[in-house]
């Protein structure tokens, strides 16, 4: 139960951060990506602020043997920089640059009843589902 409460709490803090930083505003994000136009460097500082807290935060967390509420620390099984990582990042980047929404902000924007966010999120879930459908087709033994 406490584990779930902490999860909700983390989500809430994240959501507050998305609004305060204005990352929930696709216009703000596109203004950062529009390097040759009227450039808004704010997203760079959002990342800097995030890393300034997350780098020491993750180190402190990892110094523990187990997370505060039990379980284990997620470890990525992947080690190499492979084609899937890079092509996936490229595809994601194009999608992000078309509208200025990435997963977190789009979901947070649902709180404001925006139909654009809903449409985007539904399409996002469809795209994710298509990916996993494709994987199941090519690898009948479930992963």
């Amino acid at each position: 139960m406490l584990r779930l409460a902490a999860t909700l709490g983390a989500g809430i803090v994240f959501g507050i951060g998305l609004v305060v930083s204005q990352m929930i505003d696709p216009g703000k994000v596109l203004a950062f990506l529009d390097i040759t136009g009227k450039w808004d460097p704010s997203l760079a500082l959002v990342m800097a602020g995030a890393l300034a807290v997350a780098i020491p935060g993750f180190r402190l967390a990892a110094a523990r043997k187990v997370p505060v509420f039990g379980g284990g620390f997620d470890q990525s099984r992947q080690r190499s920089i492979d084609g899937r990582l890079l092509s996936g990042a490229a595809v994601f980047g194009v999608g992000w640059g078309l509208v200025g929404f990435c997963p977190g902000p789009a979901i947070a924007a649902l709180a404001f009843g925006r139909w654009e966010a809903l449409l985007f999120v539904l399409a996002m879930l469809a795209g994710a589902w298509l990916f996993h459908l494709g994987r199941r087709r090519h690898a009948p033994v479930s992963a």
Binding site: R3, T7, A10, G11, V13, G15, G17, L18, V19, S21, M23, D25, P26, K28, L33, I35, T36, K38, S42, L43, M47, G49, A50, A52, A54, G57, A62, R64, V66, F69, Q78, S80, R84, L85, L86, A89, A90, V91, G93, V94, G95, W96, G97, L98, V99, F101, C102, P103, A109, A111, F112, E116, A117, L119, M124, G127, A128, W129, L130, F131
Partner: protein, 142 residues
């Protein structure tokens, strides 16, 4: 290139809150605050839907709480609905193929000095910037 609309203070504070949230989730539950991974796990029906749904609900609750205090945020979407659909499909597919997004790779991965995440972030930032350049300056807007 001109600089416009720069909001350094709110950017740093908001960013720090995002970093804090990621560190909180990791310290408390060992999980990575990568929204595409959290949502993707729901689709894959990995059997642990409760925490995933709670985190995603938290995003909305946090955003709404902030609006109660500071007023509804500006959310500017200026793209036609077909582009929204295409963009969503690409983001959904690409984040699953690439195992992460801005929060998963850009914040959590880089915070852990993951070479994979650093590489992915460089690639998606470049792809996004190139897309904006083409749409805004080469094609003239969508």
């Amino acid at each position: 290139m001109t600089i416009e609309g720069f909001t350094p203070v709110s950017a740093l504070i908001g960013g720090a809150l995002i970093g804090l949230a990621a560190a909180m989730l990791y310290a408390a539950t060992g999980r990575i605050a990568g929204v595409s991974g959290i949502a993707g796990g729901l689709l894959r029906r990995s059997g642990d839907a409760p925490w995933r749904l709670l985190f995603l609900a938290g995003l909305m609750v946090g955003a709404a709480l902030t609006a109660l205090v500071a007023g509804a945020p500006s959310i500017r979407v200026e793209t036609a609905w077909p582009v929204l659909v295409i963009a969503g499909l690409l983001v959904g597919y690409g984040t699953q193929l690439g195992s992460g997004c801005t929060s998963g790779h850009g914040v959590c991965g880089i915070a852990r000095f993951s070479r994979r995440s650093i590489a992915a972030t460089i690639v998606f930032m470049a792809a996004a910037a190139l897309t904006v350049f083409i749409v805004r300056h080469a094609v003239g807007g969508a």
